[in-house]
């Protein structure tokens, strides 16, 4: 027995020594780090390498919000002067601050923080590392070296609403929604406006899951909407579970983030999708050319190629496709009249008068539902 104990102690001691070696190596690594910095200071050099870091709130997986950002990262990675790295499943709050700071310390030139909850940490770390450029997605704060960005995904929502409104037979659409924040509320409103444009009798029923990624819960929420008679399910989460629920019930579905057709080919009408590639590539070009600026708020639209819809499924009639594509062409040309008046709220009161449009500031802080939405914003 004593022999076994001794053996264990020896092994443990060996491990300790080994790890000490590893520890000893750390400073050398650190010394090696600043090497690329002088390179960056010499603008004449053409083989300048930029390091772009990405922080994701969920696992990249094969669909969803972070997956869409990661497609953008891959587009950037294809540039010959950029190397990229990412960290996934980073909880918002204290953990994200550490991850972002770690990236800044390791000499990343541009750091994309892709979730709302990373806002305060990004601003905080930004102050500590004035030479690093930060791009924060979906927030509202900015500083000298922090710009924020987001896309007008409501434009895609509107188009998917057109499709859903044309396809429903029960005139009830279900919307599995994440959190009652302006981004989600805006999307529900645009979807509803689109659906009612095709079919004024449509109502959109909203269920809040208070989750971004919880397949089981989101599937149940979709089922409850299906049970209530909804025959098209739209969603605002990362998991494709609501799509599957719709297919199992023989209903239709509208996906989000990335093309979700592979998860429910029979149900999937289309998806509101992110296409970050062009915007991320542009950002890297700006950083390379020295034209990137902090303190910017970018709200990219379909005209910038950042938001889009997935190809419509074979069940969507040609005339609907044609109509949707016509609207899409308008949006791509920069003509956005989705939130143009008259718009009524849930009580039927006109809150946006004819001839006026909801300004961007109000869209960004939207906390009320339009007429036709069944549910509360709480």
């Amino acid at each position: 027995m004593k022999k076994l104990l001794k053996l264990c102690v020896v092994v443990a001691a060996m491990a300790m020594t080994l790890s000490l070696f590893a520890c000893g190596e750390a400073p050398q690594e650190k010394k090696a780090e600043p090497a690329p910095a002088p390179k960056a200071e010499a603008p004449a050099e053409e083989a300048k390498t930029l390091k772009a870091g990405f922080v994701y709130v969920s696992p990249v997986g094969d669909a969803g919000y972070s997956y869409a950002h990661d497609l953008g990262r891959k587009a950037v990675d294809g540039l010959d002067y950029v190397t990229t790295a990412y960290v996934e499943s980073v909880p918002e709050g204290a953990d994200s601050e550490r991850v972002i700071r770690n990236m800044a310390r390791k000499g990343f030139d541009v750091i994309f923080t892709t979730s709302f909850g990373y806002m305060d940490p990004t601003i905080k770390v930004g102050k500590e590392f004035p030479d690093v450029n930060f791009m924060h997605c979906s927030g509202f704060k900015k500083s000298e070296n922090v710009s924020n960005y987001f896309g007008r995904i409501y434009q895609s929502r509107y188009l998917t609403g057109l499709v859903a409104g044309s396809m429903t037979k029960s005139n009830k659409l279900g919307y599995v929604a994440a959190f009652p924040i302006p981004e989600v509320i805006r999307g529900i409103n645009a979807f509803t406006i689109g659906a009612r444009e095709m079919n004024p009798d449509v109502e959109v029923r909203v269920v809040w899951t208070k989750t971004w990624y919880d397949p089981a819960l989101e599937k149940d929420a979709a089922k409850s909407l299906l049970d209530a008679g909804c025959d098209v399910i739209a969603q605002h989460q990362d998991s494709p579970a609501p799509q599957e629920a719709a297919q199992e019930a023989g209903a239709y579905s509208v996906g989000y983030n990335s093309d979700m057709s592979s998860f429910a080919p029979k149900a999937h009408l289309t998806s509101a999708i992110w296409n970050w590639g062009p915007a991320y590539v542009k950002t890297m070009e700006q950083v390379k050319n020295g034209t990137w600026n902090g303190n910017q708020s970018n709200w990219w639209s379909m005209a910038d190629g950042v938001v889009d819809i997935a190809p419509m499924g074979p069940m969507v009639p040609e005339d609907v496709k044609a109509k949707v594509n016509a609207h899409k062409a308008n949006l791509a040309a920069g003509q956005d009249t989705i939130f143009a008046g008259p718009i009524k709220n849930q009580k039927g009161e006109v809150v946006v008068a004819e001839g006026t449009t909801v300004p961007d500031g109000d869209l960004l802080g939207m906390t009320w539902f339009v007429e036709g939405v069944v549910g509360t914003t709480e």
Partner: protein, 354 residues
Amino acid sequence: MLKIRKREEPWKWGALVIFLGALLFSLGVSALLLAGQGKDPIEGMIILWQGSFGNLWALEGALLKAIPLFLCSLGVAVAFRMQIWNIGAEGQFALGAIGATWMALSFPDLPGVILMPLMFAMAFILGGLWALIPAVLRLKLRVNEIISTLMLNYIAILLLDYLVFGVWKDPASFGFPMTPEFSAAAIIDGIGSSRVHWGLLFCVIVGIGLWAFMSFTRLGFELKASGEGARVAKYAKIRYGMLVMFVMCLSGGFAGWAGCVETSATLNRLQPSLMVGYGYTAIVVAWLARLEPLNIAFASFLLAALRVGVENLQLELQIPAAFGTIMEGIILLTVLAGQLFILYTLEFKKSRQG
């Protein structure tokens, strides 16, 4: 033939040897997994080490993360020692954060010396009261506290959501769910120029206080004795019901303190992203540490360091985040399975008869 035989007396240094052995074993398995991903396992382990302990800021990160884990775990362990299964640290943590925020938002102009104690007191009271509910339910209605504490977690998180989405929402936040930032007096500062805040000192005080309480007071002794079961306690004329309520309050109060420290020191405001599951991880830590306060300090630091290190591993080698969860699972499993060898031993026997 390999046989399992019960030891005459528990293996004295067993716990330490088994812990280190299990840790080594888990690291070995993890290295194999890395190799399976096509990554260099040695390099991976070095990167993991650097990310966890390799430099000052890694240590800082781990310490920071260990603080709420330690407090929650301490609370959970107190209840577990009395065989009260408090799975509700997550909810009690949320209530603590709510209590602290309540004070911070109500009296933003008070000086820190008054406001800080108010925040800690309210965090302890709300966390403790939240834990008192299942205690009373158990005593009066025989409701299993595992279920009730777990269920109360969901209610607590919804309550937190209600507050930050509703009455406490910052009007300047564009409708996003968060309270206004606390006044400077309500924010726990960093120690010197480091990132580690004074919550660390608080942890040390609470840890020593609890140890002294359990070792030197009559009540502490009664708590330990009641751990053997309600009937034992009754024979010893210990007021079991009172003790259950007391221990749950203490347990919830500690988790509440964790919530207070975390909101004040790291987020500086209340928002839903505060809830990252420390209350659940605390259960893992408590068992890894066999419910001893000093061990809990080590275990929470080790687990925090592992989580911080895995981020570095992710960044450098681009492995999936799930790898960290898998490593954690393997470590917990091997350490707990290894406990067998404290009471039992393996021996080789040549058996020719069979």
